[in-house]
Homo-oligomer: 350 residues x 2
């Protein structure tokens, strides 16, 4: 999606991905290699700028590459976002509210953290978690041993469980010159830890709530000397916002923006890392994004729904794998809900 939005800007792309025939490689040059591969770095060093859309690129590889070519967002931001403890401490230092948290490396530390934070709580690996993987929800004292058996042995973080009313996310974009734009808050619905539906804009968002979310994002963007799209996941509870995590990349909850916003997150990410002026982020019509997980519907069945647009990623369907998404717009929220209800019956979107 980055390449598709960049070709009209006259850009050319080289993708590094260890998996052959990755989506990017189907429409541009792909180097099949590890992210730290020397030959891959030599090829990337010929580019004007290197960016990532996968946050688990090893920081060391990104730092090494940054000695030879401009790498944005800065590898230090990648490092902060990769480690849940650094991330939470960054939130804390900036005064961005979060659930209470504590680092955990041993079973006694876990027991102490549970005593401090209370239950329910969520035990998470500090690194490499995504789509709900590497997480264990502790609801009762007996769960402590189960959680430790499941996740113990790597660096962990225990977080208090926010009984949030809903999950929102904010896409912020910061340019090389420090200018920023923000998309409207969107509302995210997960199942089994995987994002299934995003509503854009999120309903019932006051200007104050939007401003508060933008303030938090602005603090992070400036602190990290960030350039590009930064996604900030937030819990809403009683009118307050708690930062859950940030993703230093274009984000699934921003996919709606291809049809739903004046400038897509992909184009704005590229504009940012290239030092070009950022584009408008307005959402003109109520919009929703439905992920296609584990299966692909017949294109006809999607496209016959008014306002629906299809995005296949060129990935083979596997259980739990995101293989595409649908964006749908409508003139009113009620009509949008009807269209989403209809699309939600299709394979992959069920």
């Amino acid at each position: 999606m980055l390449a598709l939005s960049g070709y009209p800007l006259g850009l050319r792309f080289v993708f590094v991905d260890p998996v052959p025939n990755a989506p990017g490689g189907q429409i541009a040059e792909q180097i099949v290699a590890d992210y730290a591969d020397a030959a891959a770095h030599a090829r990337l060093a010929e580019c004007d700028v290197v960016t990532y859309e996968f946050e688990s690129v090893p920081e060391a590889a990104a730092q090494k590459l940054a000695e030879r070519v401009l790498v944005l967002p800065p590898p230090s931001a990648l490092a902060t976002a990769q480690d849940r403890l650094s991330e939470k401490r960054c939130f804390q230092k900036l005064g961005v509210p979060t659930a209470p948290f504590a680092p955990v490396s041993t079973l006694p530390e876990l027991e102490r953290a549970v005593a401090d934070i209370g239950l329910p709580a969520v035990l998470k690996t500090r690194r490499l978690g995504y789509d709900g993987k590497g997480q264990f929800v502790l609801r009762k004292p007996e769960d402590v041993a189960l959680a430790w058996a499941e996740l113990g042995g790597v660096s962990l973080l225990l977080e208090g469980f926010v009984r949030f009313e809903r999950e929102l996310s904010l896409l912020g974009v910061r340019g090389k010159d420090g200018s920023t734009v923000f998309y409207p808050l969107v509302e995210n619905h997960h199942r089994d830890g995987i994002l299934r539906v995003t509503w854009a804009p999120a309903p019932n968002v006051t200007p104050e709530l939007q401003a508060r979310a933008e303030h938090y994002s602005q603090l992070l963007l400036d602190k990290l000397d960030y350039v590009g799209v930064l996604a900030l996941e937030l819990f809403e509870l009683g009118g307050d916002l708690y930062a859950n995590e940030m993703a230093p990349r274009v984000h699934n909850s921003g996919h709606f923006s291809i049809e739903g916003a004046e400038t897509s997150q992909f184009e704005n990410h590229l504009r940012a890392v290239l030092g070009l002026p950022l584009g408008a982020t307005a959402v003109r019509e109520p919009c929703a994004m439905l992920n296609l997980v584990g299966a692909l519907p017949q294109p006809e069945s999607v496209l016959e729904v008014p306002g629906a647009h299809l995005h296949f990623y060129g990935k083979a369907p596997r259980p739990g794998r995101k293989v595409g998404h649908i964006t749908v717009t409508a003139p009113t929220r009620a009509e949008l809900e009807a269209r989403v209800a209809r699309l939600s019956t299709l394979p992959g979107a069920v």
Copy 2:
């Protein structure tokens, strides 16, 4: 632009173009070959469907290919549109108004046609004219000899000169099942025979005018058993519409639709030739398209204008060559005009 709109639908593309490194070849497989080349046909015959975005593909080549693979729009429609006389007779037969016209092959025939139709009139080659090439405007009797000296020797057509108030165009799309959708009429401004600016929707279009244009397009689409996007260029004069010509392909005056319409003409063309449901054609905000001719502006200078989006085609600039376009949207027509005025000062758009 077809490929960029088709990738999200899960499509793959093979382009045939005699010019190496054509725009399509920069983002997909390109066969560098003549349109009638046997090896190229063998490769195309492996596709599900073949279409064209260049109306001068020889009809014989298209017909031959159609014996092996589905070719849409039908080669017969291509043939009708390639020959100005067939095209005008098709309009005439269907009751679609045109300027008076007469075929011309000899100087005496030209003199007779001028006597019948009167001056001013336009002498045009029957085939291979585009961007104002192969045309001669006759204003006074002495121009007859000059026009003949310039164009004589090939099959010609003399047309009465419509002193039109403005040029409009209508993009119609017909699906395999005969369903049709139409975009709002757009207003086109040329200079030196080359389209420079399209306003979408055209201002001051009554529902009756839109309905009449759609009626004419519907007659053509059905008569030609058409599948895909058909552009119909119309002159408006005193509330009446006169068909100028049709283009059996996605059309420059429809480029605005990438950002400006709910479904782009490119996606709708692909949906049509694949037998998929057609997408909505609504234009939500006033929009304009500025061609970039002979030169490319600095991307910054375009993107700093609110609502502006850039499309470079990967072509080297040459005088008179279309090398890209800018789309710009705005909440009001007045604001749109201000933005267009600003963009109109840039290299390529001047």
